[in-house]
Amino acid sequence: MLETTSHNPLTAGLSHTLLPEPCSIVIFGGAGDLSRRKLVPALYNLMLDGLLPAGIAIVGFARTDLDDARFRQLARAGIEKHSRRPLEEPAWSAFEKRLFFVRGPFGEASSYADLAKRLEAIEPGCGVPGNRIFYLSVPPSAMGTCVEGLRGAGLVRAGAARPFSRIIVEKPIGRDLASAQALNDGLAASFREDQIFRIDHYLGKETVQNLLVMRFANAIFEPLWNHKYVDHVQITVAEEEGVGTRAGYYEEAGALRDMVQNHILQILCLTAMEPPWTLSADVVRDHKLEVLSCLRSISGSDALRSVVRAQYGSGVHRGVEVPGYRREPNVRPDSVTETYVAIEAYIDNWRWAGVPFFLRTGKRMPRRASEIAVQFKGVPPILFNADAASPLEANVLALRIQPDEGISLRVATKLPGPKVRIFPVKMDFRYGTTFGEQSPEAYERLLLDVMAGDATLFMRRDAVEASWRWVTNILEAWEDAATRWLPEYSAGTWGPLEAEKLIQSPLRNWRTP
């Protein structure tokens, strides 16, 4: 998205003008799932595209009993299984030379001393001038320990000093406002804000990035993008899977923390923000923060009116009977963790006054789908829309984030024939069928951005805390509620009846994404 200024005139005009700097990437939890499925394949694909800097070392760091050779085997298997492009021997042979492993428990100072020693030994041979990126693919409870360990071993360089130290942290950043603040304080004790990259992989997706392009590179949308013409906005992040093997985490989190606090609110910000005057990281993030600051607080009894939470019961998924949430492995039989949440939210600023934003996410829905749908107001009740009993369907602009990334616009047309009969048709644009090109994985883009020091697509502390502030009000209202009863929806459906009631009006319904 952004071009960085370079002192290297030979890189001008090359397709990717972000300039990643030579660095070591230390993956905490390097033997784990995220590393094997996403991070290592992403780095491999960046190398195939010639986008990795010439000087690079990738160091797995975990307590798992591995050495360099076994880490490389693990990485190779991960690439073979999960890379968007197949493993090629010449490329792999060059790539594997950059893979290293350091073993050690995160809670022991000696692990970090070993890590520091190994980095010192590896880096000169890999052309790395000491720049380091620490990717914390660890549970939030371990983050503080890791940061302290890094600092204790002298692995953190202050602020803008060169060589640089940067840290990437995965969601969840806390489980409420207080814990997020504590976690951020812990990070801030060792790293300056511009060294911290809080990753939300949704922001690396093409369609999410395309939101700003669509809004601000097309003259026809922005004039309509306000309360005068928009009836409401729906943001849906639907998951097909149940809780699976994540019950331990999910029981403590629930849908509101797992999806709304980060992905959905980030998408909301990009949908509703004012035009930034430049694409520089802080300006874009300032504008996103403004949206969060204008989100009307939902607390107390409002939370019971404007928010629906529910839990999936048994049902049918792709023709197979599946158990309800409470019967999933490692879930308490009396669990009140929500697997679905729907919210009617308002942004109290001039642009969006009175426009409801319906936010919805859930597990075990009929299919995996994420989209933003902007429904415009209806035409006046004259001419073609004179029949109050069957009003014309409104125009809807839908931006699909996954799967089948693309954009569609619902418009009214005349059915062929002598009579004037109106029929809604969908104008459909799909990335996959229009461009044919494979989109890079979100992690490829995001890792490249960290290497280049571009934080535009990462969450800043103030935004994380603003979103937690909003979400924590809802959580507290739920805590205070007299009843802990949760509505249930059948697995394989789009949610509970209560959610239908939340949105329902003659011209408003949940969309089938």
């Binding site: 002192h7 030979l10 010449p90 060059a94």
Partner: protein, 372 residues
């Protein structure tokens, strides 16, 4: 994601005046073959005018078009400038090229071939003009192995209706005159014209790797101290070597001051630069593919003479060799450099490439230094 593209309909000869009607009919009749049950999407990102000088070239281009429209669906107008046995002076054929794109969808592009007898060639531009779809960008892919301006009025008329002109300087028989005439046309084509040379695209991995290996972070001061460049290339790859030199010179501020053709297929240029002079040699190998084989860049470093060599290895990988330094481990895939793949990647790029224009301008100065 996709299956191989296939012509879904046998190309049908139609009256030139009835092409548009036949295209409409194409979408309203049942589709033959194994894909007949799948819904069909007619997709079109661009108008693509492909000009071929004769039937043999057109036949080859048809195969490339099938690959191109898989990733860049387009209305393709294949114009054949000198068809052999012609029953009439202009002849048109209409077909669709379809492929399945997952979820049971067929994506189809329209393909119109218009063959002209020599005497009717001048009518090709007007015929093509009437078949362009409005509101879509139009690209002209000029396939003959000679500089587009040599196509004279025909090229001028086709280029005038296109926003984007694509050609390939690889294989030009007379690169010196070709570069001069092409650079002159580009300079006069106006600031909004988008001009792309596929040979320039083939240089991307070389440029990327050279840029990375000589990055000031890795090789402080190298870019300011280069005093020698040597390029070895295969037959018909001189324009590419030329462009690479033009690019280095344009980016690093070198000015050509002299050139000399030596026996043994070698051309040497001398450039003036801020710190001193730069000697550049392009050497042609007697046999092989029309590719760059090796590029060596030398400079005087703090601790003596330094030379980094970039060479094309097996399986299309470019490797960097910098004796005594880490960079020797670096390699980069050239990727798919077939014409079809390059055209496909070029078509969506609807913006001018000032780096290419700068390189071309220096190339022109290099050519002029040679004929001076």
């Amino acid at each position: 994601m996709t299956q191989a593209a296939q012509p879904d309909f046998v190309a049908r000869p139609v009256d030139v005046g009835a092409v548009e009607r036949e295209l409409t009919r194409l979408w309203s009749r049942p589709k033959p073959g194994p894909l007949s049950e799948e819904p069909v999407t007619r997709a079109c990102m661009s108008n693509l005018i492909v000009y071929c000088a004769n039937d043999a070239d057109a036949s080859f281009a048809q195969e490339e078009i099938a690959d191109i429209v898989q990733r860049h669906p387009a209305r393709v107008l294949l114009l054949v400038g000198s068809a052999g046995e012609q029953p009439s002076d202009l002849e048109a054929y209409v077909s669709a090229v379809c492929f399945t794109a997952g979820a049971g969808r067929q994506i189809c592009s329209e393909n119109v071939t218009i063959s002209a007898h020599e005497s009717a060639r001048r009518r090709l531009p007007a015929t093509a003009r009437s078949l362009l779809i409005g509101d879509l960008p139009t690209a002209l892919w000029w396939t003959p192995a000679n500089p587009p301006p040599s196509g004279g009025e025909l090229f001028g008329e086709l280029a005038a209706m296109a926003r984007h002109v694509i050609y390939d300087s690889e294989g030009w028989a007379d690169p010196v005159r070709g570069v001069v005439s092409l650079a002159g046309w580009v300079a006069g084509a106006g600031s909004s014209a988008i001009v792309s040379d596929l040979a320039w695209r083939r240089l991307s991995p070389w440029r990327r790797l050279i840029g990375q290996a000589l990055d000031p972070a890795l090789e402080p001061g190298a870019l300011d101290a280069i005093d020698e460049v040597e390029i070895e290339h295969g037959p018909h790859a001189l324009p590419k070597a030329w462009l690479l030199i033009g690019w280095l010179a344009a980016r690093l501020g070198w000015r050509p001051v002299g050139a000399r053709v030596s026996p043994g297929d070698q051309i040497a240029w001398s450039f003036d630069s801020e710190p001193g002079s730069v000697r550049v040699t392009a050497r042609r190998q007697a046999q092989g593919d029309p590719v760059l084989r090796r590029t060596s860049i030398g400079w005087r470093g703090a601790s003596g003479r330094v030379c980094t060599t970039f060479s094309l290895g097996r399986a299309g990988w470019i490797a960097v060799d910098r004796p005594g330094a880490f960079a020797s481990q670096r390699i980069l895939a050239r990727g798919d450099l077939t014409r079809a793949a390059l055209v496909t990647r070029q078509l969506p790029k609807l913006f001018r490439d000032p780096v290419f224009r700068d390189a071309l301008a220096v190339s022109r100065a290099m050519a002029e230094a040679l004929v001076r």
